[in-house]
């Protein structure tokens, strides 16, 4: 760097030698950054171990599809009809029905959370079933987890409908309901929640890696004063930013590819869009995440605050406000506005569409434009903050 003129940072016309010097400076900075990553392997752990561990835990561990629902099946007067209804629940692999003689013991099991629901056939069930009709099947569900309660109730209704149709058919009665709902679920016909959770999870992991990694690394340099030392060298601010970001960009993209590989290879998530679009949008998002991290480090000035800020501004907002698991359209309007400043929101929309639906250009372009805007704002703001810290 000795050949660079001290005033190169003030923006005089480039000469051939200063371009070469600039390249050298940049390469020098990048190789220093790579050395640093090698020396403290915790950055490599953030980039590669964390995503894989989380993706595996998530892919296998997180599902919203109700399964193994314990049901207390109370039959006050067993006969052939109650047995066939119980059989219908047994056949469905979603339930684990257990028989009880009376409602009191079933309620005790329910209160102890041994079962999710009670299905209660009173002593007059068979008589009313064969007589006037309208025989009530009491269903009590645990409503604490409202979502599971709703889905579980839906499954119970499904069993009841099928059983009733079969019961009527056996007796030669036309009992088909007047209006029959014929649902067709697009993009995810099997309604596997994993298929929509894993693409969203990748977006969350990329937010974490990009923002957390850079914010900590750069905050450390501020804290130790090595950043100031760099700033008095002839290096220019964009060069400095590029040099800092390039290695972490590469780390982040590597980790992205790994995640996609695990998602498609291990979890059988379909990838219906094009790989090229996936790469381009991921690179864009990576830059946004890195920009966030850079800005956090400059605002925080020390690692302690930077680390807390990174965790607070990345993980939970990306988890809750990105549409990863909770549908944005159902949130109250003010919360929907707030969700617009969460970058993960746009990337989740892109990934869910790319994986499950394909190249839907309207969605891809709109969300990419939003990400592009965020990138420009974040990096521009970071650059301005660098300048200010210099004064």
């Amino acid at each position: 760097m000795s050949d660079a003129h001290p005033s190169a940072g003030t923006g005089q016309p480039d000469t051939v030698s200063s371009i070469a010097a600039r390249r050298m400076r940049l390469l020098g900075l990048i190789s220093k950054e790579i050395l640093q990553i090698k020396r403290d392997p915790s950055s490599l752990a953030i980039a590669f171990v964390l995503p894989i561990v989380l993706l595996l835990l998530f892919g296998y561990g997180v599902s919203l599809d109700a399964r193994n629902l314990g049901i207390a099946f109370v039959v006050e007067q067993p006969d052939a009809d109650t047995a066939s209804l119980l059989g219908a629940f047994r056949q469905s692999r979603l339930f684990e029905p257990r028989e009880y003689q009376d409602i009191q013991t079933a309620e005790r099991a329910f209160a102890a959370r041994d079962v999710f629901a009670i299905v209660w056939l009173r002593s007059d069930f068979a008589r009313r079933l064969r007589g006037q009709g309208d025989a009530p099947i009491g269903v009590i569900v645990n409503g604490v987890d409202a979502n599971q309660a709703r889905i579980g109730t839906g499954y119970i209704q499904g069993v009841w409908r099928n059983w009733l149709a079969g019961w009527l058919r056996e007796r030669g009665i036309d009992g088909s309901p007047p209006a029959v709902l014929e649902p067709r679920i697009w993009f995810n016909a099997a309604v596997r929640s994993r298929d929509f959770l894993v693409p969203g999870l990748i977006a969350i992991l990329m937010t974490l890696i990009g923002a957390l990694l850079t914010s900590m690394v750069v905050a450390r340099e501020w804290e130790r004063g090595t950043m100031e030392a760099l700033l008095v060298t002839p290096i220019r601010i964009p060069e400095l930013m590029l040099g800092k970001l390039a290695p972490y960009f590469a780390l982040g993209m590597g980790s992205m590819l790994l995640c996609v590989g695990v998602g498609v290879g291990l979890f059988d998530i379909p990838l219906r869009g094009s790989v090229l679009v996936l790469l381009a949008t991921s690179a864009l998002f990576m830059l946004v995440a890195l920009g966030m991290g850079l800005l956090i480090s400059i605002i925080a000035k020390n690692q302690y605050v930077a680390g807390q800020m990174a965790i607070i501004t990345t993980f939970l907002p990306a988890f809750i406000l990105s549409g990863f698991i909770f549908a944005i359209g159902s949130m109250p309007a003010p919360i929907q506005w707030i969700s617009h400043v969460v970058p993960a929101r746009y990337f989740v929309a892109i990934l869910q569409t790319l994986f499950l639906a394909g190249d839907v250009w309207r969605i891809i372009l709109f969300n990419s434009a939003a990400l592009l805007l965020m990138m420009v704002l974040l990096l521009g703001r970071a650059r301005g903050a660098f300048k200010k810290r210099l004064d």
Binding site: D40, S42, L54, V62, L64, D65, A112, L129, G133, D134, P136, V139, I140, V141, N142, G143, V144, A146, N147, R150, I151, T153, I156, L164, P177, P178, A179, V180, E182, P183, R184, I185, W186, F187, V191, D195, F196, M216, R220, A300, Q303, Y304, V305, G307, Q308, I311, P317, F319, G323, F326, A327, G329, M331, P332, I338, Q352, L356, V360, R362, I363
Partner: protein, 371 residues
């Protein structure tokens, strides 16, 4: 006596260090409060006014009646009535609507002739959970429509009907489920980070060595570090609990004392784990990374948003060492299900055990690392 004074003065110094400058103070107070409100309202599985489109090829009264019932529900918002098939795909693909309700031209004819009249519902399955819930709502409406149609024409009711009743949360409001979870999540995040960084920061700045040459024993230092975190965790958790009860109006059906005991044990276990991370980390970066490696799975595998019983057996076993999992049992149990001390014993002792083991490991690591 001397020991107590030493520990207390270290704890006081720690607390002052945490609250000294505006930025550190703000980060402890601002984000959790903001997040409580944003997440309390945002994290919902309910469908409120989600956009749908209707493609009704049959202009007769029964078809209009069914459409009116769907569109009139507070769960849906009609944004477009469409006139031909080709409009369906772009609406769903571009996420303009979540579903399209389609009635064919012969809907009412089939209905009148007693043939099963199909009601087509095309749903965007990209979020499979929303798709299932939406399907459930529409199914409820069509079933009720069918029953009313029959009884209006004097036909016999179906031989058996379901009478569903939800206990503990009658209206199935997901806010009642999520907000008690947020008490745990935010308390855990703040407490763990504060503790995990407390020692790592001093180590990196070199002030930890100065502490070591004082007459304090490692156990005393550890206690002095733990106390402020416990205090912060309890204040944070207590505040969020107040907001849960008085702002979000989640009912308190069980014993408040049982919930507070659970919170105390939960904060102890979070501090214990934070200290363990702190004792392993030599730099703040490692401290943050450690906190992260613990927090993310702890939140995800706690039952906060997705049920534990859906996880595979092995992962379910893993959740047993997660203090958040147990605190959520206590919080939801006391608030919604009316639990007291006795029925929660099974959730108390795992948290106590986690707190004990993690602090012992932390103490051992400290002594070991200093030797």
């Amino acid at each position: 006596m001397d020991v107590v004074a030493r520990i207390l003065s270290l704890a006081l110094k720690e607390l002052l260090a945490l609250l000294r400058d505006t930025k550190s103070r703000l980060i402890l107070i601002g984000p959790p409060i903001l997040q409580l409100f944003v997440f309390g309202y945002g994290a919902t599985f309910d469908l409120n006014r989600v956009p749908i489109a209707v493609y009704n090829e049959d202009r007769s009264a029964p078809a209009r009646e069914l459409v009116a019932r769907v569109v009139g529900s507070a769960n849906f918002r009609l944004i477009r009535e469409i006139g031909h098939d080709g409009e369906i795909a772009p609406l769903i693909e571009n996420r303009r609507v979540l579903a399209v309700l389609h009635l064919g031209p012969h809907f009412s004819q089939q209905l009148l002739h007693g043939e099963p009249a199909p009601v087509q519902l095309l749903i965007d399955g990209r979020n499979s959970n929303t798709a299932l819930i939406l399907l459930g709502y529409v199914r409820e409406i069509t079933t009720a429509f069918g029953a009313d149609w029959r009884s209006a024409r004097g036909e016999a009711p179906p031989p058996a009907v379901l009478k569903v009743h939800a206990l503990y949360n009658q209206d199935l409001r997901s806010q009642w489920f999520i907000v008690p979870g947020i008490i745990g999540v935010l308390t855990l995040v703040v407490t763990t980070i504060v503790t995990a960084l407390s020692v790592a920061r001093e180590r990196e700045l070199g002030t930890f060595d100065q502490l070591l040459v004082t007459p304090m024993t490692p156990a005393e230092i550890l206690l002095g570090k733990a106390l402020p975190s416990v205090l912060i965790g309890l204040v944070e958790g207590g505040f969020i609990l107040l907001a849960t009860l008085f702002w979000f109006e989640v009912p308190l059906r069980g014993e408040l004392g049982a919930l507070l005991l659970g919170m105390l044990l939960f904060v102890f276990s979070a501090v214990g784990i934070g200290l363990m991370i702190s004792s392993l980390a030599t730099t703040q970066q490692q401290g943050i990374l450690g906190a992260f490696l613990f927090l993310v799975p702890a939140v995800i595998l706690s039952g906060f948003a997705t049920p534990i019983q859906n996880m595979p057996e092995a992962v379910q076993h893993l959740t047993l060492i997660n203090p958040l999992r147990w605190f959520l049992v206590v919080a939801r149990g006391v608030l919604l299900e009316g639990d007291g001390y006795a029925s929660l014993a099974n959730a108390y002792w795992p948290m106590a055990l986690i707190a004990l083991i993690s602090s012992l490991v932390a103490a051992w690591m400290f002594r070991h690392r200093m030797a």
